[in-house]
């Protein structure tokens, strides 16, 4: 008896959590007239989708911005995490703390100077400005995560590598990176979802409308309040799919990243 009540409650919660998907699917399968009158079924919104919202081009933009930002975050975060964990230098603890504290700085707090600086560098037209800002915002967390992860690697392994003539860079690339794949996956998945789903940076730092990521494109059309809601919902579904797939496939890395530092 108790088990069945429990099961029923869980089904109920599942319905609530699936509600956004139901709204997107059901609404996108109506024409605008049908949406306003409440009933009916039509593929019209999907047929017109690319004419209203350049989803193809926007998905490409999102992919470019995500990939480039994540590559920079990894390229910068891996050696830094390695250095803070294994190659301590003068004042490295203090520097590490400063970088980790930067995790807590919301972009809005430094938005105005950031925007003006990046504009002065001439980077707010296309992807570059947004990529650098995303990379800078993602770096503190990745440094923290990699440093925490690398502390668990035995010193002897690295020392052996150095004695074998690998050098510090060789030791990082040949010995440490291969065993850091789970940490790399965690950073990649978390950052992918974060950047793919973000609005503020893309909205302000990518001024060319032809290079807009999909989340920004949707938000701007929605705020304009003139686009047909069914088409907007079809676009939303397209934008949600990649992040959902990544999420479902790499769920466990996400959980690991979220609880990093307290689950031991």
């Amino acid at each position: 008896m108790g088990r069945w009540v429990l099961f029923a409650v869980m089904v109920l919660i599942a319905i609530v959590m699936l509600y956004p998907f139901w709204v997107m699917i059901a609404t996108s399968l109506k024409s605008e007239a049908q949406f306003l009158s409440g009933g009916g079924f039509s593929w019209l919104s999907w047929k017109n989708l690319t004419a209203t919202i350049p989803v193809g081009q926007e998905v490409v933009s999102s992919t470019i911005v995500c990939t480039a930002s994540i590559l920079i975050i990894l390229a910068v975060g891996l050696p830094a995490g390695f250095a803070f964990a294994k190659l301590r230098f003068r004042a490295s603890t203090v520097v590490f703390l400063v970088i980790v504290s930067a995790m807590m700085v919301p972009l809005q707090a430094i938005l105005m100077p950031e925007f003006v600086n990046v504009t002065k560098l001439g980077l707010t037209g296309g992807y570059l400005g947004a990529i650098i800002v995303y990379a800078a915002l993602g770096t503190p967390f990745s440094v923290f995560l990699f440093a925490t992860y690398f502390r668990g690697v035995p010193d002897e392994l690295i020392e052996a590598g150095i004695v074998d003539g690998l050098g510090y860079f060789g030791a990082l690339w040949r010995l440490v990176v291969p065993i850091a794949i789970p940490a790399i996956a965690t950073v990649t998945v978390l950052q992918f979802i974060q950047i793919w789903d973000d609005l503020l940076v893309g909205l302000l730092f990518i001024q060319n409308t032809s290079e807009r990521p999909i989340t920004v494109g949707l938000a701007v059309l929605a705020a304009g309040r003139t686009t047909s809601i069914p088409e907007l919902m079809a676009g939303s579904l397209v934008s949600a799919l990649p992040a959902m797939v990544v999420y479902l496939v790499f769920q466990r890395y996400l959980v690991k990243g979220l609880t990093m530092g307290i689950d031991r």
Binding site: L6, F7, I13, M17, Y19, P20, V23, G38, V76, P79, A80, F84, L87, F89, S92, V95, I99, V100, S101, A102, M103, M104, V105, P106, L107, Q108, A109, I110, L111, M112, P113, N117, I132, V133, A136, T139, V143, Y168, I193, W196, D197, L199, T215, L218, A219, A222, A223, S239, A240, A243, M244, Y247, L248, Q251, L254, V255, L258, G261, I262, D263
Partner: protein
């Protein structure tokens, strides 16, 4: 020395794009600034800003939204406890519950707008339960728009926080609960004396993450759901910064508001650092 060189790119990126702008924000908060030229006006910039009623409205909205935090923690805790009972199909339920976490808050905001709309789901539910003459339009009125935003925020946080609590519960030794049960402890007693203390670190972390999200991640929801309105009813600090800077062109004032937001999150951040620090 090699260590420093390895860390240098990360240090440069963080200092250049996070550290330097903080310093600049402090400087520009004492100026009149349109993005190109700035004039030093000293502390009068601050007195002017602090006398602006919009600032206080935004701070008040942020404070009121804090009332959503207990729900954003309590509901996930409950859901995590349910999942932890491991009824048939719990893994599928887990995936379903976490799924909205992957979706942009822009999209969730659009869906929430449909939910609260005059011809939306909320009114359908109200009509189905028999209140056919009652119709709401929560986003349309100053008195209710912030509540609608708060409810949406709670929904958007459920996945992440449930995930945190479920991870916490998984690290709980089941024999402890078993022993307490044999000793005759009731469910509530076990929850209060064993489960809750065990989860305290996870609850702290979830609290910090939730409050920080509340201060700095609502932009997408506000942008698509209300645009800060009606009036200033849903303008929070982060949205006020955006409006002041990009709608009104008052970059100096916006930088100043940014500093206020910075201090607010720094207070929460100190709690977070303690949390991380106490582990080492």
């Amino acid at each position: 020395m090699a260590g420093f060189l390895f860390a240098l790119p990360a240090i440069a990126l963080v200092i250049g794009f996070i550290g330097v702008p903080i310093g600049q924000a402090v400087y520009y908060s004492f100026t009149e600034w349109n993005g190109l030229t700035s004039t030093w006006i000293g502390t009068s910039a601050w007195t002017q800003a602090l006398h602006n009623s919009n600032l206080w409205t935004a701070l008040q909205n942020n404070a009121l939204l804090l009332l959503a935090v207990p729900f954003a923690l309590g509901l996930p805790l409950l859901i995590a406890m349910l999942l932890h009972q491991r009824v048939v199909g719990w893994k599928i339920f887990r995936s379903i519950y976490f799924l909205p976490t992957a979706i942009s808050w822009v999209v969730l905001g659009l869906v929430a707008e449909r939910f609260f709309a005059y011809h939306g789901t909320l009114n359908s539910i109200i009509h189905v339960i028999g209140l056919t003459h009652v119709s709401t339009n929560m986003l349309g009125y100053e008195s209710t728009a912030l509540s609608a935003l708060g409810i949406t925020f709670v929904f958007t946080m459920i996945g992440t926080n449930t995930m945190l609590f479920l991870t916490g519960l998984a690290t709980l030794d089941p024999s402890l609960e078993e022993a307490a049960r044999i000793d005759g402890a009731g469910r509530w007693r076990i929850f209060r004396s064993i489960t809750l203390p065990h989860l305290s670190r996870f609850i702290q972390l979830a609290f910090v993450m939730t409050v920080i999200a509340l201060f700095s991640a609502l932009f997408s929801l506000i942008f698509v759901m209300t645009g800060g309105g009606p009036g200033y009813a849903t303008t929070t600090m982060e949205f006020l910064i955006y409006q002041t800077g990009f709608d009104q062109g008052a970059f100096g004032t916006a930088a100043l508001y940014g500093l206020i937001l910075f201090v607010l999150t720094a207070i929460v951040g100190v709690v977070q650092l303690r949390l991380i620090g106490s582990e080492e």
